[in-house]
Symmetry: C2
Subunit: 553 residues, 2 copies
C-alpha cells in the first residue's frame, strides 16, 4: 500500500493551466487547453457523484479537469458524528488533488456560474475573477441546497452540509454549555441555551439529534454539574406525521419510540413559521383544522429540510426550459445525459439531477407486440415471463417493480381467463409507471451514478477511438447499457441504536452496542480511501478509550 502511494507520488503533477493569449469569450478570458488528441472532460463538484466518477474513470483516456469551490471530498454520512467530536474533521475529508492523481487530472478551485452549451464552455468564478473553461464533455455534480420555504430568520440557523458547518456547530454546542454553567446566567437563560432544535425529521436531523444526545449522556455528564444536565432539551420539528418518513414505517416508529424514551421531544405535523435569535416559532393544526402558533426559546437551531436547485443548476434548467420541467433538479435520461442537450455532451448526477423514470405506457403497443407473438391479442403466462425479463433489461430502473409483478400475474388477469388482454396490459403498465418514484437524494445514488458514468465514459472513449461515427448519442446508446440503481438500504443512527431499511420491507432495529457497531462497520467499508478508513478506525478507538473531545476551539 505504501509502495502504491509512493509510485503515485513519484509521478509529477501535470503542468499549470494558462489563459489562451488574446482570446476572449463574451468578455472573459478563456483557459488554454492544448490539444492532446484526448477529449476534455470537465467535472463540476467534488462530492459523492463527481468523486465516484473520478475514481472509476480509466486513466489516460481524457484530459480531466475538476472544478469545485471546495478542494476536498466530504464523507457526508459521518458529518453528524463530526459535530459532536466522535469523528475527526480530517477523517471525513479527502483532498481532491489526491483523488485526481491517478487520472492525472487538473483542479481549479472555483465555482461554476454559467455554461455556454453552443460554445461548449463553462464560466467559473473565484473571488471576482472569471474564466471560461472549454469542454468536450461536461459532468454536473454540484449537489443541491436546502429549501428555505421563504422562512424568516434562517441566518440564525446552522446547516450541516460542509466540514466548516460541522465545526461551527461543535463550537456553538460547547459554547452554550460553558455559558449555561456560568453563575451569572439566569435559570431561564440556561434553559434556553440548552434547548437544541432540529428542523426536519429526515435522516440528517435525526442522526444529529442522536449524536447530540450521545455526547450528553456519554461525555458531558462527567464534566458538567447535574443541575445543568437536567436542563438539556433536544427538540425535533417535523412537518409530516412521522420522522424518518421516507423509511419503512416500522423504522420511523422505532425511531420515535427510541427518542421519546430519551426525553427528546418530537413535534410532528408542525411547520416552522419563523426563527429569531432566541426563539423558534412553529404552527400546528389541530383535528378541526385550527392553526395555532407556538414559541420555543432556543439556544441552537439546525435547519435540515428538503433540497432545491442551486443558482447554477437553476440557470441550467432555465436555459433548457423546454426539456427541463422539474422544479427541484436537472432531469437526465437513463444514460445520465441532461435532457435538452442534443449531442449528449452534458451529464448530471447526484443530488442536482433526477433520472427520468421510464413511462412504459408510452410504449404500450411496442411492448405488447414484442411479446404477443401468437396474434391472439392476448398474453399467456409464459409470454408474460418473457416480457418481464426483456423489459427489465431494457428499462433497468423499472426492473425491481417488474420482477415483483412476475408473481402477481393473476392480479392483472382481471377476468381470470388465464391470459392478459391489451386493456389488462394497459392497467398493469399504469400501475408500474405509477410505482416508479424518483431516486432519493442519497450518497449511494450519487455514488452509483458516478461509478456508472466513470465506466460509461471509459467505454465511450475507446469506442470513439475505433469508429469515425460522429453521431455521439447513437454510439453512446449502442455501446452502453442504461443506468441501474441498486438500493442497499438506508441506515440511521439513533443514539446507541440504529435502524435500517433495506427496502422491500426488510428492516433492522436494534438498540444496543451491537447496533452502534453495525452502523460503524457499514460506514467504515464505505470510506473513500485507505487513509480515511484508517483514520476513522483510530477515531473510534479513541472515542472508546477516552470519550469525545469537549474542548471548543
Amino acid at each position: 500500500m505504501k509502495d502504491e502511494l509512493e509510485a503515485l507520488d513519484n509521478e509529477k503533477p501535470p503542468p499549470e493551466l494558462q489563459l489562451a493569449a488574446n482570446k476572449q469569450h463574451k468578455g472573459y478570458a478563456v483557459v488554454d487547453l492544448p490539444a492532446t488528441g484526448k477529449e476534455r472532460l470537465v467535472v463540476l463538484g467534488s462530492g459523492w457523484g463527481a468523486v465516484s466518477l473520478l475514481k472509476t474513470l480509466q486513466a489516460d483516456l481524457y484530459d480531466v479537469i475538476s472544478i469545485s469551490p471546495h478542494n476536498y471530498f466530504v464523507f457526508t454520512p459521518l458529518l453528524p458524528s463530526v459535530t459532536v467530536g466522535t469523528v475527526e474533521f480530517r477523517s471525513v475529508m479527502e483532498p481532491i488533488r489526491r483523488i485526481l492523481k491517478r487520472t492525472r487530472g487538473r483542479y481549479i478551485e472555483a465555482g461554476a456560474v454559467d455554461v455556454d452549451f453552443e460554445a461548449k464552455m463553462v464560466l467559473v468564478e473565484k473571488q471576482g475573477q472569471f474564466m471560461w473553461v472549454p469542454y468536450d464533455r461536461l459532468v454536473v455534480g454540484v449537489g443541491a441546497q436546502s429549501v428555505t420555504h421563504g422562512i424568516d430568520g434562517l441566518q440564525h440557523c446552522h446547516q450541516l452540509k460542509s466540514v466548516s458547518d460541522a465545526r461551527s456547530i461543535r463550537q456553538h454546542i460547547m459554547a452554550n454549555f460553558e455559558k449555561a454553567v456560568l453563575p451569572t446566567t439566569s435559570l431561564e437563560e440556561k434553559r434556553r441555551l440548552l434547548t437544541f432544535v432540529v428542523c426536519g425529521g429526515g435522516p440528517t436531523g435525526c442522526e444529529f439529534a442522536a449524536e447530540l444526545y450521545d455526547l450528553l449522556v456519554e461525555d458531558l455528564v462527567h464534566y458538567f454539574p447535574e443541575t445543568i444536565q437536567g436542563l438539556v432539551n433536544v427538540v425535533i420539528v417535523q412537518s409530516r406525521d412521522h420522522i424518518l418518513n421516507m423509511m419503512d414505517q416500522k423504522v420511523s416508529e422505532f425511531a420515535e419510540d427510541t427518542f421519546s424514551r430519551r426525553n427528546m421531544k418530537v413535534i410532528t405535523n408542525s411547520r416552522v413559521a419563523r426563527i429569531t435569535e432566541s426563539s423558534i416559532f412553529y404552527t400546528s393544526k389541530d383535528l378541526e383544522g385550527n392553526v395555532t402558533e407556538h414559541e420555543v426559546p432556543q439556544g441552537f437551531v439546525l435547519w435540515s429540510t428538503g433540497l432545491s436547485l442551486t443558482p447554477f443548476t437553476r440557470l441550467i434548467c432555465d436555459r433548457l426550459a423546454d426539456s427541463q420541467k422539474n422544479r427541484h433538479a436537472i432531469t437526465v435520461d437513463d444514460h445520465l445525459r441532461v435532457k435538452g442537450i442534443s449531442d449528449g455532451s452534458v451529464y448530471a448526477l447526484g443530488d442536482c439531477a433526477t433520472v427520468e423514470m421510464p413511462h412504459l405506457l408510452e410504449h404500450i403497443q411496442e411492448l405488447f407486440d414484442s411479446v404477443e407473438h401468437t396474434n391472439t391479442g392476448e398474453i399467456t403466462r409464459d409470454e408474460f415471463e418473457v416480457f418481464i425479463h426483456s423489459t427489465a433489461r431494457k428499462y433497468p430502473l423499472a426492473a425491481g417493480h417488474l420482477k415483483e409483478l412476475g408473481v402477481h400475474f393473476d392480479d392483472f388477469d382481471a377476468d381470470g381467463n388465464g391470459v392478459i388482454c391489451l386493456s389488462e396490459f394497459k392497467n398493469m403498465l399504469v400501475h408500474v409507471d405509477r410505482s416508479l418514484t424518483a431516486l432519493p437524494a442519497l450518497a449511494q445514488v450519487a455514488d452509483q451514478e458516478g461509478a456508472y458514468l466513470g465506466r460509461s465514459l471509459s467505454i465511450l472513449a475507446k469506442t470513439f477511438a475505433e469508429t469515425s461515427d460522429n453521431a455521439h448519442s447513437s454510439v453512446h446508446d449502442k455501446a452502453i447499457q442504461p443506468f441501474n440503481y441498486h438500493h442497499h438500504g438506508t441506515l440511521a443512527y439513533l443514539g446507541r441504536a440504529a435502524a435500517a431499511d433495506f427496502g422491500g420491507g426488510y428492516t433492522y432495529r436494534g438498540s444496543n452496542l451491537a447496533a452502534k457497531y453495525l452502523w460503524r462497520s457499514t460506514y467504515w467499508s464505505m470510506q473513500v480511501s485507505l487513509r480515511t478508513r484508517l483514520m476513522l478506525a483510530m477515531d473510534w478507538t479513541r472515542e472508546l478509550l477516552f470519550g469525545r473531545d469537549i474542548s471548543r476551539f
Copy 2:
C-alpha cells in the same frame, strides 16, 4: 488505563457555582463559595504553568477554581506542526475539565480583568457579564502577548498562539496555493501569493518556516505544478544579527546554514517598519549606519516576536507599582509569590512572571561572615568550597553559576595568595550577580514552576492544618524550599533537521531523519496526557504513510 479513566469518570462533577444572593462588590455580583473548611484556590489560565500546577496538586486539599477564556490546554511546541497538517488539532489539545477531574475543580470560561487584593477577589468577564470570584490563594498564569513595537498593519499578520491561529494559518497557506495556480492569476501575483514572511527569528518563527518548507517539498510537490513550486519564497526577517540568537551560536549558525541551503531567505539586522495587505517594509542599516527601507510583496506574514504584558497583568503591575518595576512581566520572589502582596496569597508563573534573581552582593557581609570562621578576613580554598555549597542551597537559582565558579577559585584570587579577601569576594559576587539572567519564556520553565507550586501548595495546606500560625509567609518560607530551575535544553526543528542546545555549551545538530525522530520522541514524552500522546503517535504514523493533509476547510 481504561479502568483508571472510568473510575475518574464515575465520580460526579461538583455542583454548579451560584451567585451569592443579595451580595455585590463594587457594583458586580459575587460568586458564592460555601465554606468547606478548605482554602479556595483560584487558578487563572489553562496554559503550561496552570495545568502543570493542577496536575501536581494533591486532590482534596483545596477548593479549586480554574478560570480561563479557553477551555483547553494547548501543547504549544507542536503548534507549528499543526499549521501545516503534520499534527492534528486535537492531538495538541486537552480539555481543562478533564484535567480538573482529579482535584474535583470547578471551571469558569471567562477572562480575569481585575483583582481586589484587599477583598481577595478576582473580577472575571465573559461577553459583557462580570462577576467577582473570591479566593484565599490566587495563581496568575495568564501568559503573555506579542510585542507590537507600535508597528502599523499588524492586522494583516497571523500570530501563532492558539489552535484557532493555527487553523487560520493552515487555511491561508492552502488558499494561496490554490489561488496561485489559477490561470487568471498573473505571474507577479503568483509570486506575491507564494511569498511567506516570518517576522522574528526565534524558535517559533524558525520552526514554522521549517514546517512550511517540509510541507512544500514533501507534499505539495506531488500535487501542484512544478512552475508554481518554483515561485515559493520563505523569508525570515530578524532584528538581531542571527536567528535563534538565544541558543548557542553553533546552533544558530547551523540553522542559518540549513535554511540557506533550502533557498529560504534569512534577513538579519533588519527591523520591520510597517505591513500592508500585500507588502512588508523593513529597514536595515549598513556599516556606515545609513538606514534604507526595503519592500517585499507578500501573501502571508507571521508575526512572532518578543513578549509583553497583557492588559490584565499590566494592571496588576500598575496596582503594585512600588514593588513591580519590570516592564515585561510580574516580578515574583523565589517562592513564586508576587512581590508587593504582603500576605503572600498571590502567585504568578509562566510567561507572565519573572522570578527575581538573587542579588548576592546585597548580602555580602552576611555571606562572607558565614564562611570566614577563622577571623583572618580571608577565605581559604576549603572555606570557599563550603561557601559554594551552602549558598547554592540557599539560592538555588544561582546554584548553576556558583558550581561553575567552584573550579575557578584561582580566577578570583587576583593576587594569587591562595586566599580570597573581602574585595576579591566582592568582585566574585558582582560577577555571579551579573551572570544570572532572567529565566526564559519557555514551556519548560512554566511547567517546572507549575509543578513546584503544585507541590508547595500541597505541603502548605497540610502545614496549616497542623499549626495555628497565621503568619502565612513565614510558615511558607520555613516549610518550602525556594524554586529551582533545571534547564533541559532547547530544541528547534529545522525541517528534516533539528538543533538542540542543552546548555553549558552542549549542542546537537543533525540533519537527517534521525534528527526528525529525536525531535519527535522528545515531544512525545512531554505530551500531557495518554490521550494526546497516543493521538500524536497516530498523527505521525499517518503522515509517514499518507503525507500531510492538503485540504482547506
